[in-house]
Symmetry: C2
Subunit: 346 residues, 2 copies
DNA sequence: CTGTTAGCGCATTCAT
DNA sequence: ATGAATGCGCTAACAG
């Protein structure tokens, strides 16, 4: 680390002032050159351009965004980077490629502060300035007073104020449970997700509906809270599966929860799928790496991300958009489900 | 959410000035309250705090970072969000959890501008302002004149100026080729990666070394450029596999390339692994979802990310760090490799 | 064509 | 304990 004296820009970043000084022009002139604005003599332009290249100057995103409204950056706000978000991110990245927008993904929950207001906080911190628009993943609160276009993926409540993109959670859940029913299961448990997310509520609703349609009364003791999280789900599964009349199948609200259930089953010496069938939801890439590979309801995650981008770009263009997009889910049968064990069949 | 009348903040974001006005104090006072600085009467503090909550005010990351040096945000600079980066991101996210730092991932290449200087550009745009430190994924140029601490993952050249984290690329490549040799293969092709990345060079070196150690001269026609990309690799594989004395096995420089090879093989009617063995590198989650599941060299991706965070945090604390961390790789044998077909054995 | 003047939202002296 | 003034890096109006 060299200490620079004088105006050596080696430490600290090169600012527009450094360029102006080196080129012997004023700051606004440099600004004009950088932004390809006309009203600059060709000769001056060339000289400034050269100095810019020499010094390796880049406009500060921050300073620029403070001044001008447009930044050409779209923000993706996620609670944290886990498989679900990162798959969406892939779809978003692909869809945003070549649109002229750059992507800025912000994880607002890493601080460990479990306040549910992370999305509002993050949005406030970035909007109005840094980003032109935002895609918010699994927001749990209303994002009403935002000054920039916002698209929500898998939000708190369904179609409310703002534009949303999600999958057919209820139908997907129903297909999962129907799959288990078709295999002869009747004692089917449900490890449900975060109660503050519409997706979790809808999946539970689908679960209940499917059982009702089959003429089975839901045993409330078989419905437990997993919070969409592996550890929490493993814990509830441990108690659930240790009980005398344990279920023969578990429908977990998402893949992380399913992995937790798988873990608990292994600890209790239960074989999957011989002793216990498990179904997840999402079909994150990791779902095929579990032992055994997980049967799950696939959401088209990358497509969800792509759609969100498309909607946001439309909104940024000032054109009208459909307020809500819902994509279909598909049951992906792998090896964590099998016919109900004969000794527990009734 | 009721609209507070008086100073209607409904449009645009709530600024510190709005809070000051509503609380009947000056801006600096609000600033002090927000930053828990002393020199404010308890009563004033309370009142301001209350207004802040009511209005839902959050300091603008942009404005703050422009003024003060520390932002509490770490930047992750990636060319784009694909499986490799997103896996690293997961590891980084996990490791950063609870450290008090928030994460900001920036994809600098989405514009489609294929200029290799994306990492310098992005770094310049964000550093000195938005972020306190950065983790740069697969930088292809030197990041010398940065004013903030930087850790590079899988960089251009090995240990040069700055701190780096990578895996044992050469050893991993050797183990992959040795695996193929053990299965009886002798005509082993290599689809190599981006020439501007040390990892690609090292994997090729490992490939050559393993063959040499086995007393096999490298047939240069079997070494093609795949650029770490699926499409490009599929293309070179198509020509490679259509030739009369085609190889019986391909070692692809990464999993994306391997997927491309798999695709080309399928198009040509070649069965994997019966007619052709394929090995990849990285072990991204998607590798187990290919048909057949891909044999590959696993890099501990999430751990690479975690280590990078640890190093960066150490640097941010001003403490000395080891300049270079290298992690081991593991061969993960799945179903895309088999003994060499008898009819082509020589 | 160019430079001067403002001010974006905030944090920091330094007065009061 | 509080507020007026200043500046971070940059761009938008204007004036020369």
């Amino acid at each position: 680390m060299e200490t620079a004296f004088g105006s050596q820009p080696s430490v600290g970043r090169v600012t527009i002032a450094d360029v102006a000084r080196a080129a012997g022009v004023s700051i606004p002139t440099v600004s004009k050159v950088i932004n390809n604005r006309d009203g600059v003599a060709a000769a001056t332009m060339l000289r400034v351009q050269q100095v810019v290249d020499e010094l390796g100057y880049e406009t500060s995103l921050v300073a620029r965004s403070l001044r001008s409204s447009r930044t050409g950056v779209v923000g993706i706000l996620v609670p944290e980077f886990e498989p679900f978000s990162t798959e969406l991110l892939r779809g978003i990245s692909r869809a945003a490629s070549g649109t002229g927008y750059e992507l800025l993904a912000y994880a607002g929950l890493v601080t460990g502060a479990d306040q549910p207001g992370w999305e509002r906080r993050s949005l406030s911190r970035l909007s109005g300035t840094l980003i032109d628009g935002a895609i918010v993943v699994t927001p749990t609160t209303a994002l009403s007073s935002s000054s920039i276009p916002v698209v929500a993926i898998d939000p708190h409540t369904g179609p409310e104020g703002h534009a949303t993109v999600d999958a057919d959670n209820e139908g997907g859940a129903r297909s999962a449970v129907e799959h288990l029913l078709a295999l002869g299961h009747t004692r089917i448990a449900h490890v449900h997700g975060r109660a503050d997310l519409a997706s979790a509520q809808l999946r539970e609703a689908g679960y209940r509906q499917a059982l009702r349609d089959a003429g089975i009364t839901v045993d409330e003791r078989l419905v437990r809270a997993g919070g969409y999280q592996e550890d929490q789900s493993a814990e509830v599964a441990r108690t659930l599966l240790a009980e005398p009349d344990r279920p023969t199948a578990v429908f977990a609200a998402n893949d992380s929860s399913a992995v937790g259930v798988l873990r608990a089953a292994a600890e209790l010496g239960l074989r999957v799928p011989e002793d216990l069938s498990v179904v997840g939801f999402d079909d994150v890439p990791q779902a095929s790496m579990t032992t055994p590979p997980l049967t799950t309801v696939a959401q088209p995650l990358t497509e969800l991300g792509g759609r969100a981008v498309a909607m946001l770009l439309t909104m940024l263009r000032g054109e009208p958009t459909s307020a809500h997009v819902r994509l279909a889910t598909t049951l992906r049968v792998r090896q964590s489900t099998a016919v109900v064990p004969t000794d527990t069949r009734r």
